[in-house]
Symmetry: C2
Subunit: 340 residues, 2 copies
Amino acid sequence: MPTSPPSASSPTAPLEFASVFARLSPHVKALDACLREQIQAFEPEVREMADYCIDTSGKRIRPALVFLSGWQDDAVSPALVKVAAVIELVHLATLVHDDIMDEAGLRRGRDTAVKSFGPEAAVLLGDALFAHALHLAAQFPTTAVCSAVGESTRRVCAGEIIQTMRRGTTAITREDYYRVIDLKTAELFRVSCHLGSQLGGYDDDFVAAATIYGRQLGIAYQIFDDLADFFGEEGKIGKTLGTDLVSGKLTLPLLELADALKPTERAALMSEITGQAATNMELRLRQLRELDIFDRVNEALESQLRKGERAIGAFAALPAVPRLLSLAEVLRAQVKLLQP
Amino acid sequence: MPTSPPSASSPTAPLEFASVFARLSPHVKALDACLREQIQAFEPEVREMADYCIDTSGKRIRPALVFLSGWQDDAVSPALVKVAAVIELVHLATLVHDDIMDEAGLRRGRDTAVKSFGPEAAVLLGDALFAHALHLAAQFPTTAVCSAVGESTRRVCAGEIIQTMRRGTTAITREDYYRVIDLKTAELFRVSCHLGSQLGGYDDDFVAAATIYGRQLGIAYQIFDDLADFFGEEGKIGKTLGTDLVSGKLTLPLLELADALKPTERAALMSEITGQAATNMELRLRQLRELDIFDRVNEALESQLRKGERAIGAFAALPAVPRLLSLAEVLRAQVKLLQP
């Protein structure tokens, strides 16, 4: 079943993002209610389509970051729910647009918006979702949420643009790689922790620390995702392996592989990236395993994660901190499941 | 020269939108400077692409509405310049996305963003422009601008979605037609007058009146645009005639034509809309002329325009009013140029 979502196919995994959400259950219920409420704001003729896009089946990592970084007690704060909804709507809008570009037909086990409504309507639906997110952000007493979300979204798009323009090119350094994942993935993680801790009433020192943690977790999460593209079991992670290589994206596993290969073999890999040669996936997957690329990439991931943990370590007594740290543990457990 | 912009090909037209801008010259200079400044806010890697999209060669009707509806004296107000820039950025973002959907290669005499950078980057660039517009909107002391612009953009997208989903369908009433143009075109005209008059310091009564005027002018402007699709001289308006019919869009001229035709002829027109029959453009253009469709549509346009003029008529002593009314006169002059 290549299309079933990861959570459905590994129900016995020891630590999953879903496990964090079990503890957040009343918050997630309030978030779902808030997202459902937003559908009413859309023009009647497009409500059904907006409803389709406001999918509540995702992992909701960004809302979890908002809730956990703003955690004070078990009470569900309406401000945190609203900002979590704003960020999730922005994320859903980017998914709608991503699926158009990737010509993806399925996401989370059902037809994508582009498959259901066509590319024209999907571009506009993504725009409408994003516009509504910003309208919702304007319901806060100050412009802080609008400003932060507007800026973050621009940065996410910039990261995606840079990645798109670089596809099939090989002059990519680790610095280039980190720059792109910092923008395209870590930015929304970062702003989730920033706004969460701020609206949770924490002081500037902790807000700054939580913001660093969010960013580092986002970078580590993207490295995990890039690792899963080569090291997942196809049945378990619910997708085809090696799509990044096929689409000409030089991610960290491939950068590490290039370094570990002899010059002639490395040149062959590069012509697969540029599309001059057909991808020899079987060979590349074997090389990735034989040259211990998993461990090298995992080290890089760990180093990013530890930077984040150090940033909030000094605030261990705050109720938000052990909860935030639990997300890093979940990520580690997920990485471990990929280990060859 | 089918690709040259209208203003370049009819330099001697008596009243053009450009003539309004001659009087607004210091404001437009300040707007251009503000838009150029925004490019610096984009990530260095995408700045050149953002620069390309922030095209300053358009008619700038929406900024003109902001300036004219907020007019108090000749001074250039920084708040009006900033809100004009926000609305123009949203408009430019929608153009970038429109050109992807229309597979347009040229706009204003040069390659579109989608032609220059590909559809993937163009989707993301439109998103980034829109995100930055909202970030800029958050620089006002209150959330009012963010809220209004976020909501208006959602409505513009909803209008475009409804239009897209209806393409090639024939069960469309005048009410349906007006609903779509109210959303897709009149909404940004409306919010331009709303925010312009409000930031210009006018009282609630005039703000409400100016908002109605903006909306009515927007509806009339779209009717003009739909008329120009059939009645322009190809050389003069710089585009092919009849594209709405070819793409299955039942605009007001076609609705009027359908009413004026005998049942069998009307059925033939409808099968051209649905794509079941090939378009007989020569016949349709002749029928549009012979059955006086221009006059009928122009009457509908006039009726919309007069509603707007009546709304602000009671405020004739305010400095904004004669200036706003001049835009209606420019539109009338433009419509007259189309008369067969």
